[in-house]
């Protein structure tokens, strides 16, 4: 029941904040958003699931399964539950939402109640995405996340916000549609009578697919895999489907960027793991080389694009593309360390990219510019913020004892040992080269903006940031270090949840 | 092929004869254009105005509508009265026989009362009509 309580409470909180007066909306929203954090931590403490949620032998934590309606002979259910893959993401979503709300106090200066209401509405739907185990339920939440994000960008965004919001909306909606059709094609030709993901996954893995539309079962599987991969790849985003991301990030207000990079991108990789790599391991392993190429291209191309940017936010945005490439590489490796590391990287990257966006946002709040050439020597004026930003950047580069290092280490080790990717060591080596570029652009940008003599091209009085601006940064930094020092707090459960996935894929 | 040919032929004749008559007469008649021929025929009187634009008082239509309603009522009432007595004698209940007609008349009465109250039968209320009348008298 706790999942229902959390989602219901967050929806209710969204409604309450929506109706609250603007002056108190931020404080109210932050207060209300703490309860989901506590709730998710409580779930963590009571977590007792074993194995993978979708596959045989797994047991769910906090499971609820209620029939909802029957469509064309298929049962649709309210079916939620948590396993070792989803729990870390739930914790990430609640914590990051709360901190993003806190970080929004300063920059959001109009229509606050709507803004914070939408943030909470999005959080509720994100919780739904990571807990739903019925395809329809999941899809409803999945799409519902888009609506608040569209408004967040379109109303509170930068100068080109309308274009960015529409682009975001259209890209991700069309992608969802393609994915939807792909999944439907699978279910309709499968001997199941439910849209429950576990049943579909088990049936697919045991090879119960019949051919349709003149395609053989294998061809149908491949086509559906491609459709779903395409649909999720837009969300992740994987190069070449990434072009909506920089626009959305640059135009979005900072708290929305935090959510976008920190949690929304993870929806894509989470879905890839749940659908493509869990349900169709044979196709995934067969085309592992192709997917690995996508992954490595994302890593390198994203990093190179980041290198060419002048806008701090764009730099972080493109580096997200690069980081998500690691996740794909880890997933396709089909080793425990690879898939587990990819899942771990989702959390780690959520924290670190959230940190980076927030820090850039804090700097922007006082300087009103994000251009690398417009400022230098910010370290003198904002020591705390800059300190955290530097620490976060090192986390990005994979400094040991930080979450990013652990994640990337797992992924590289997993990918290196992969028996699925052809010439795995080569791919791994090329992907590792991405880290060098990351280090390059981050150091370059920081050296130019943060250090050296103070100079600012805009006419604003630079003041120290408020405590409620820097507090979320500190919390995120602490979380990042904690996960880096003791990755096992999540990694143990992740490993257990990903192991059943490898049963066919890894061995084949 | 079958009896449909007859129908087709009849249709053809029906359309063809009038068209033919018009065509023939337009061919053989003399053409003498004259102004008087295009004027409105009013029993030998010289027309004073064009027929277009003469406005009847809207009340005429109202009364006509009410008349039609009750005309149709009569059509329904008549067969009912004819079978009323025999039906009663053959054992049909009074309610079954009387009630539906009462409902029907009731509905019409509501309509009539409403129309009456709205002034549908109040004569020459419109300003235009009053004005025309006074102009005529003066």
């Amino acid at each position: 029941m706790i999942i229902e309580a959390l989602i219901g409470f967050t929806f209710l909180a969204a409604l309450v904040v929506m109706l609250a007066p603007d002056e108190y909306a931020g404080r109210l929203a932050f207060g209300l958003s703490l309860l989901p954090v506590v709730g998710s931590l409580y779930m963590w403490s009571q977590f007792d699931a074993t194995g993978n949620a979708l596959l045989e032998g797994g047991s769910l934590a906090f499971e609820t399964q209620v029939p909802w309606l029957t469509a064309a002979g298929y049962q649709i259910q309210w079916f939620v539950g948590v396993d070792g893959i989803s729990l870390p993401l739930i914790v990430l979503a609640t914590v990051l939402s709360s901190l993003a709300i806190l970080s929004a106090w300063t920059p959001i200066d109009s229509r606050q109640s709507q803004f914070f209401g939408l943030m909470l509405f999005m959080e509720a739907n994100l919780l739904g995405v990571f807990t739903a185990l019925d395809f329809f339920l999941w899809f409803v939440f999945w799409e519902a996340v888009l609506v608040p994000m569209y408004f967040l960008i379109a109303i509170w965004g930068g100068p080109r916000r309308k274009y960015a919001a529409i682009k975001f909306f259209v890209y991700t909606n069309i992608a969802s549609l393609i994915m939807f059709i792909g999944f439907m094609a699978l279910v309709f030709n499968l001997d199941v009578n439910t849209f429950g993901l576990p049943a579909v996954a088990v049936a697919l893995r045991s090879g119960g697919l019949s051919g349709a539309f003149g395609l053989s079962p294998t061809a149908l599987k491949t086509a559906a895999f491609a459709a779903m991969f395409l649909g999720f790849a837009v969300k992740v985003p994987v190069v070449p489907f990434h072009t909506w991301l920089p626009d959305a990030h640059v135009e979005a207000p900072t708290p929305a960027s935090v959510m976008l990079a920190g949690v929304l991108l993870k929806m894509g990789t989470y879905a890839l793991l749940r659908f493509n790599f869990t349900m169709l391991p044979d196709v995934a392993t067969q085309y592992a080389g192709v997917i690995a190429i996508f992954a490595v291209v994302s890593v390198i191309y994203g990093a190179l694009l980041a290198l060419a940017q002048q806008d701090l936010k764009r730099i972080v945005a493109y580096s997200s593309v690069s980081s998500m490439g690691y996740v794909i590489l880890g997933l396709v490796a089909y080793t425990q360390l690879g898939v587990g590391g990819a899942t771990f990287q989702m959390v780690a990257h959520g924290l670190i990219s959230g940190l980076m966006f927030m820090a850039v946002g804090v700097i922007y709040n006082v300087t009103h510019t994000r251009m690398v050439g417009d400022m230098s020597g910010m370290a003198d004026r904002m020591p705390v913020t800059v300190g955290i930003l530097v620490a976060g950047a090192f986390g990005y580069m994979g400094l040991p004892l930080m979450a990013g290092f652990a994640a990337e280490y797992f992924i590289f080790q997993g990918a290196f040992a992969s028996s699925v990717i052809p010439v795995a060591p080569l791919f791994t080596a090329v992907a590792m080269f991405g880290i060098v570029i990351v280090a390059g652009y981050l150091l370059l940008a920081m050296q130019r903006t943060l250090f050296g003599p103070f100079r600012l091209e805009t006419d604003y009085e630079v003041t120290r940031a408020e405590l409620h601006d820097t507090l979320p940064l500190m919390v995120l930094l602490l979380c990042t270090i904690a996960l880096g020092v003791a990755p096992d707090i999540f990694f143990t459960m992740i490993k257990e949840a990903v192991t059943p996935i490898l049963a066919i894929g890894g061995g084949a | 092929m079958n009896q449909w040919i007859a129908v087709g032929a009849l249709a053809l004749m029906g359309v063809g004869i009038p068209l033919g008559m018009i065509a023939v007469s337009s061919l053989i008649r003399p053409s003498v254009p004259e102004q008087g021929k295009s004027s409105t025929y009013e029993s030998g009187e010289i027309p004073t105005k064009s027929a277009i634009g003469i406005q009847f008082n809207i009340q005429y239509y109202m009364v006509a509508l009410l008349f039609v309603v009750f005309d149709i009522e009569t059509v329904l009432l008549f067969p009912w009265t004819v079978i009323y007595q025999p039906a009663l004698e053959s054992g049909v209940g009074l309610m079954t026989l009387l009630f539906p007609m009462l409902v029907f008349i009731g509905v019409l009465v509501i309509g009539l009362v409403w129309a009456w109250r709205q002034g549908a039968v109040k004569w020459a209320r419109s300003e235009a009509a009053t004005r025309r009348k006074t102009e005529h008298n003066s």
Partner: protein, 502 residues
Amino acid sequence: MVVYPDWAALAPALALAVTGLVLLLIDSVDPDDSRPGLLAGTAVVGTLVSLGYAGWFLASGTGQVDGGTGAISLYRDALVVDGMALFFQAVFAVVTALVCIASYDYLKERAYQAEFYSLVMFAATGMAVMATANSLATAFIALELASLPSYALVAFLKHNRGSVEASLKYFLIGALSSAVFAFGISLVYAATGSLLLADVASALSALDGGLTGVAAIGVLMVAGGFAFKTASVPFHFWAPEAYEGAPAPISAFLSSASKAAGFAVLFRVFTTAFPLDAAGVDWMLLFQVLAVVTMTLGNFAAATQETVKRMLAYSSIGHAGYALIGLAAWSGGAPGSVENGAVLGASMAHLLVYGFMNTGAFLFVALAEQWDVGRTFEDYAGLGSRAPMASVAMTVFMFSLAGVPPFGGFFSKLFLFAGAVDAGFWWLAAVGVVNSTLSLYYYSRVVKALWVDDPVGEFELGGTPTGLYVAVVFAAVGTLLLLPGFAPVIETAQSVAAALVP
């Protein structure tokens, strides 16, 4: 237990008729419309009574196969009360109630209020009878009873040229299509010798060649008559004009209830009277073509509109195309089988959801007309911060109409398209999906205007009309609740649709 007479099954329709008469009586006592609250209140109570009866009958199984008495035939089979009739009567009652609540504010300071409400009631009565019509004659009479008050209602703003012109166009096309419909009926009668749907079906099946052609032309013409009422191609020309010129609550009424009524009688006549193998014309092919043309034309035309009301009018044509899939992909399987109900029921459920979201959308336009903010998309800019509640409701309607997942419209479209795919008409579903995607473009323009765009100039909203607000918010809540509550709706719709063919 009290045994009710059979005619009591007509209670949903009778409640509407009686309310109309009561309104006339009130107006006779007080011809000056000095108490608008009483008029609106009476109308709303009447529709709610009708809704209550329909809901009660549906729940208790009256006229239904499951747990009920089976279809109740009245007046020598001229009328039949079954699950489908009750389902549609519930839709009409809901829409009429919303329209009446909203009209209270819209009609303020206008003359002829009592007439307005009673005309709405009589039109609703006609629709309720359409849903029960079991003979071509009653179908025709009921259709006229629904249409004639509608003509007058469209012209209600009689000093507004647009309103009068719209009414005249509506009337002329209505008269033409009535003539076509009546001619079609006479041809069917000529071929089969009966007007009762069941007798027509058996006579058609027994037809030995000679008159099949006549019957086929009759069937086509009957389809034309229904195309008018449902605002489908080729008799759709009136819809944009009528919806734009009419008072906005009437646009809501016509585009939701009147359209649903057209579909009610269309579904019944074609599935019960014209068996696919004997009708002499493959009407499934006909409706496939009509569905594709209607939804494509409606959506493409909607995408090019500049005024919101006209966009909604064209989108309403598009939705008629979706609903036509119910017949276009009809399985025509064994009588009473579940497959018969699947796609037809989905279409009915879509009409119910559509009743909420489309009525709500038009009522929002009524609200905007009341505030006098203007008609185009640009004029709606900035309304989001002035009237957040109504704007949230409108956002819900727009996304729901587009079929975006978190709202009721998503499920109804999904079931419709899934039903079409299941019946083997995946290309119909594909056209529908493409159209839905296109529709997102123009629906989101409204949302964008409401929330994102900055207003062109300063403007003040004159007050908050309570009735309109209540109706709009109620419709929005209905649209939202139809997502979790879709199960009973679709199950009822599909079971009553399956029972349609005895």
